[in-house]
Amino acid sequence: MNLLLRPEFWWAALAACALMHAPWPARPMRRFGALNAAALALLLGWRVAAGAALLALLAWGLLALLRRRRAAGRSPGPALPLAYLLLAVALFVMHKLDLERRAAGGSLLPVELLARLAYSYVFLRLVDAGRCVADGLRLLDPLSLLGYLCPFHMLVAGPVNVYRDHLAADEAPLPAPGFASVLGGVDVVTTGLLYKLVLAEGLRIFAFGLDGPLRTAGLADSALLFVYLFFDFAGYSLVALGLGRLMGVPTPVNFDRPLLATSLTEFWRRWHASLGQWVRAQLFLPLQTALVRRFGPARARPAALLVLVLSFTFVGLWHGLNLAMLLWGVALGMALALEKLVRDGLLRHAWARGPAAGRLARVLGPAYVFAAMVLLLHPVWGVLL
């Protein structure tokens, strides 16, 4: 059942908003960790909450060992970081394969817990936390880490919160809520509910029927599906963002008017922006930097294009561990690489950098992006839902 339609979700959210600002002696993110553990138990049952706590404890243990070795002046060696990464990846593969089996009828693996915790997002957070701690940032205590890894208000559809932001929020006093900030948070939550429950659901029922599957037979269906996906996903993200603001828990903006993007590259900066920022920080920049340092700036362009395709291949596989999503990710990466080549070619001409070209791009760009995304949702890819 949709989490947003469950009264317990809203009771948990209201209680967390009020109690986060109550005068407790604990640090803000430890306070959230405790409230979040209770919310997880209420929403998902005590077994799932205990499983989430165990996962956080395991991750914390490995990261604490890594830090202890560093503090003792010893090199941590490859074993600990590798064990941490292998744990995260193995659970990710298990989770994704299980989702595939469910889609084909029946779950065979006992990993209900991972699905209920939306492990695809937890995986990204584990990697971010691991890298930050390896870079020397402070390790949160296990309860605060649980709040970072499995925040109850981001269970449905993320976004991907940032370890560094969570840490910063833990180190500063929680700002006292004022009338304007509460009203602003409520406004974001209600806008999200309007997106999800009215616009997305209305469009879904109109286009695919009350209980019909989200299948597309042609371009018109794909266009409707694209608009539906926007309101659905942006709606969930806004609810999470608003609740995060009300509680004082860092929750990133996930959608920044993506339908106004003038290029596919810009679209992916604005659509599911938190995933884009994760891919940029954890995959794209480190890989590209390593390649350009290795082969020199003269080969920077092929290196950048290769890493771009690899990064979007990961995005495809993150959405679904199957051949269709692999091909979809490669195709998307190649489309972006082609766009980059054309754009760089155009920018060599002075007219393309002028204001008239900018105005033209603002008019034609969104139509081009919309058409490209509709093509990428075409049933020929077989990627849907």
């Binding site: 870079d135 590259t265 940029r280 920080a281 794209f284 920049l285 480190p286 590209q288 930097t289 350009v292 340092r293 700036p297 920077a300 362009r301 950048a304 294009l305 771009l308 980059k340 760089d344 920018l347 060599r348 950098r353």
Partner: protein, 79 residues
């Protein structure tokens, strides 16, 4: 920033982004320079590393998006 270093930094920007008239004002960001996207960002910083004999950390490469911050970082490393 030291004028000679600023001249060398400006030359890299002008060459990389094909903008021979570009003036490196501190407030300039990646959004203001056509072509300074995430694909060219790494190339820019590695050209700067090579020009000044520096090595940036991955966090620095990730975070630098403003010319003023870039100048300050180069200056602090060369001091």
């Amino acid at each position: 920033m030291d004028p000679e270093r600023e001249r060398r930094l400006t030359a890299i920007f002008r060459r990389l982004f094909c903008l021979p008239e570009l003036v490196l004002e501190d407030a300039l960001t990646a959004r203001d320079v056509p072509g300074w996207d995430s694909l060219n960002h790494v190339t820019l910083l590695i050209e700067i590393e090579r020009e000044f004999g520096l090595r940036f950390s991955s966090r620095e490469i990730e975070g630098l998006q403003r010319v003023g911050d870039l100048k300050a970082l180069v200056e602090s490393r060369l001091r």
